[in-house]
Amino acid sequence: MSTDTTATTTDTPRSRIAARVGMTPEQLEAFGNEMDAIRQRIIADLGEEDATYIRNVVKAQRRFEVAGRALFYLPPAWPLAVAALSISKILDNMEIGHNVMHGQYDWMGDPGLSSRMFDWDTVCPGEQWKYSHNYIHHTFTNIVGKDRDVGYGILRMDPDQKWHPYYLGNPVYALLLMLFFEWGVALHDLEVENIVAGRRTLADNKPLYPGLVRKIRRQTVKDYVLFPALTGPLFPLTLAGNATANLIRNVWAFNIIFCGHFPAGVASFSVQETEDESRGQWYLRQLLGSANITGGRLFHLMSGNLSHQIEHHLFPDLPARRYPQVAAEVREVCERYGLQYNTGPLHRQLLSVAKKICRFALPGGDAAPEPPAPRVTEEPLAA
């Protein structure tokens, strides 16, 4: 494999994001090249181990799911059934669904693990999620006004989002989003906040409805009608069990995901400073805009390796099991360039996120510790 990475580095002479962290343009380019090198080394090494790993995770998920569905026939095993089904849904959505739909396993050529074919066990149609997540969120990460994952159009999570009395409800909205997370993810693509702000019309959403309605119908019929009905007199118990499993998955996914971009110290960016961005600055922005969670192997698996949000944002199309492997290297590079590498245990990151949710319910907020250049906020998100 040759190493020409020409496509990337037409650096603008001055990157304002690099200037924020005291990096010269040369350093920024060198940093970008180091990241490219890590990526290429892993890509060249992809093979049997990665395939076996994801197939084993899928095998485990399918077994937990079958076990969960079956255990509902034994009323005393109800808690076990709920646990198995919750694990199944968490694995399906996070380590399998999220990562497969990123195209991390497309190189295997297995339709069952292809980003174009896969859909996950949630009410959100994978097809629509891939657009808002893979494209909008991963390309424009933490650019206020462009990345709709900054507060998801519901919350105020950044000082550059203009305050409005609506945001007094921030903690309540966050709690509701946590409990109904899969629904939030499903409706995210309708961009309701942009419709309220007049930047999008209801007509723009029309093409999305059929897919959304179909997916919602399939998921709800399966979990709340068919499987309960198949257990006959145990219908209410099974229904409650399925709802509980969905709820557990919602709460878990919400918490992991909110620790990815919202803990204190994570940077956000303006549209202006990301114009004509170089590959080096793109990498830098991904690094500064993400945060990790420390934990053991099981924790990383159950979080879909989104506990390595930094590595995921640097290399979104590498198989997630590789993130722990490259984390040490990424961290070492960061130390050398004096860059922040935001990580911490779950409880600390969660607390930090909770504080932020409450703080930004009120006007103002701590301006991030930079900016030497004036930050321009375009199109504040008003609700």
Binding site: M1, T5, A7, L46
Partner: protein, 398 residues
């Protein structure tokens, strides 16, 4: 395995109820966890036999016939059709999918089929199947596809003359047709009448594989590189010897197809239903001889690969966007940019290789990933056109 061949179970597994319960993954994603030969929709096959067709020789690629037992949902095939075969090549952990003609006679649902494959040097799949695959291995199949079948021209009687012209491994679909004709052709009854249906079946099973007669005049003209390279040599010799209506003409070595020779064998060839399958050179000569005759049906071999371009920046060749029926000279720009320059509006997202919104299938040709510099000439490969540039001729399914 046997459990799933029972019709009521198969019907249940394909029902809307099971589909709803297994959503969104589909019932096959669960069944495969227990037994790879359990499938409601996907077709798979177990290799039950592998047999060498040609003697190993230094200058020619080996050929093998694989006998496959498909899953019970195999719908059967018409003679001349092909099937997509997906192989999980060990080591690289990638599934490669290629099309192969079926060489056995027309099959009924669930019946065994054979593929006769030449191990091409550049063909990972063919080389793997011929040289490395073992009995018991599971392959992924499609249902049978293709219209290169024994469909005769309407206004002709069903016992008219048939002509097959093949070259190299292009013999396989024609062999399937020939075997089918010999198996299902008119069976002469005891009183000289024609037997059909179950009577014919009985008669055939007593005779063995063939009833021995195609029931019509069949001319089989085949070009092979050498006698050692001749696939199905023994079987063709046996067919040529017996009194069955089939004449076999084998041409070995440098003897190219000539219209003159064909006219000598079949004077009215342009008015005879003809099936042509072989390498590009043969196809060119034969199509020229037939001019625009509607009697000629053909199946192309995909041209292996376009040549790689010399140096960076200097790209020669043509980029064809097949579905849009648009083509233009290849340039060093990405395929996405080239498509847009030609006025196409392909789907895209990040334009930097992250989001896979622009992933499409490259059907043939060599391309380079601009992020990694990696070049690939694999046919039917998924590429992200925003980070892929052509290196010579290529065909994109867009």
């Amino acid at each position: 395995m046997t459990a799933l061949t029972a019709e009521p179970i198969r019907r249940l597994l394909r029902s809307r109820l099971v589909d709803a319960l297994a959503a969104p993954h589909g019932v096959d994603r669960y069944l495969e966890q227990f037994n790879p030969m359990w499938a409601a929709h996907d077709v798979r096959a177990r290799i039950v036999d592998i047999r060498r067709e040609t003697a190993p020789a230094a200058d020619s690629a080996p050929v093998a016939t694989l006998t496959l037992q498909p899953t019970s949902n195999w719908r059967g095939h018409r003679a001349g059709q092909h099937v997509l075969v997906g192989v999980d090549v060990p080591g690289v952990a990638k599934r490669f999918t290629r099309a192969f003609s079926i060489s056995s006679a027309a099959s009924s649902p669930g019946e065994q089929i054979t593929l006769t494959i030449r191990a091409h040097h550049e063909g990972q799949v063919s080389a793997y199947l011929v040289e490395r695959a073992g009995v018991g291995e599971i392959l992924h199949l499609s249902q049978a596809r293709g219209d290169f079948t024994l469909n005769e021209s309407p206004a002709t009687p069903t016992n008219n003359h048939l002509l097959f012209i093949t070259g190299g491994s292009g013999i396989t679909p024609a062999m399937s047709m020939l075997r089918t004709l010999l198996r299902d052709g008119y069976v002469r009854g005891p009183r000289g009448g024609v037997l059909r249906g179950s009577e014919a079946e009985e008669q055939k099973s007593s005779v063995g594989c063939y009833d021995g007669n195609a029931g019509r005049k069949v001319t089989f003209l085949h070009y092979a590189r050498s006698p050692e390279d001749q696939i199905f040599a023994d079987e063709l010799a046996a067919i040529a010897e017996s009194d069955n209506g089939v004449t076999v003409h084998l041409r070995h070595g440098d003897r190219l197809f000539s219209e003159f020779e064909l006219r000598r064998l079949v004077p009215d060839f342009a008015d005879v239903d003809t099936w042509l399958c072989g390498p590009a050179g043969l196809v060119e000569l034969v199509t020229a001889a037939y001019a625009d005759s509607p009697r000629l049906r053909m199946e192309f071999f995909k041209p292996a690969v376009a040549r790689a371009a010399g140096d960076d920046g200097d790209v020669e060749g043509t980029v064809t966007f097949a579905r849009s029926d648009t083509a233009g000279p290849a340039s060093a720009a990405t395929l996405l940019e080239q498509a847009e320059a030609l006025g196409l509006r392909p789907e895209f997202g990040c334009r930097m290789g992250i989001c896979f919104s622009c992933a499409v299938t490259k059907t043939s040709g060599r391309t380079r990933n601009v992020l990694t510099g990696e070049e690939s000439a694999l046919p039917d490969e998924e590429i992200r056109i925003c980070v892929t540039q052509p290196v010579g001729d290529c065909q994109i399914d867009l």
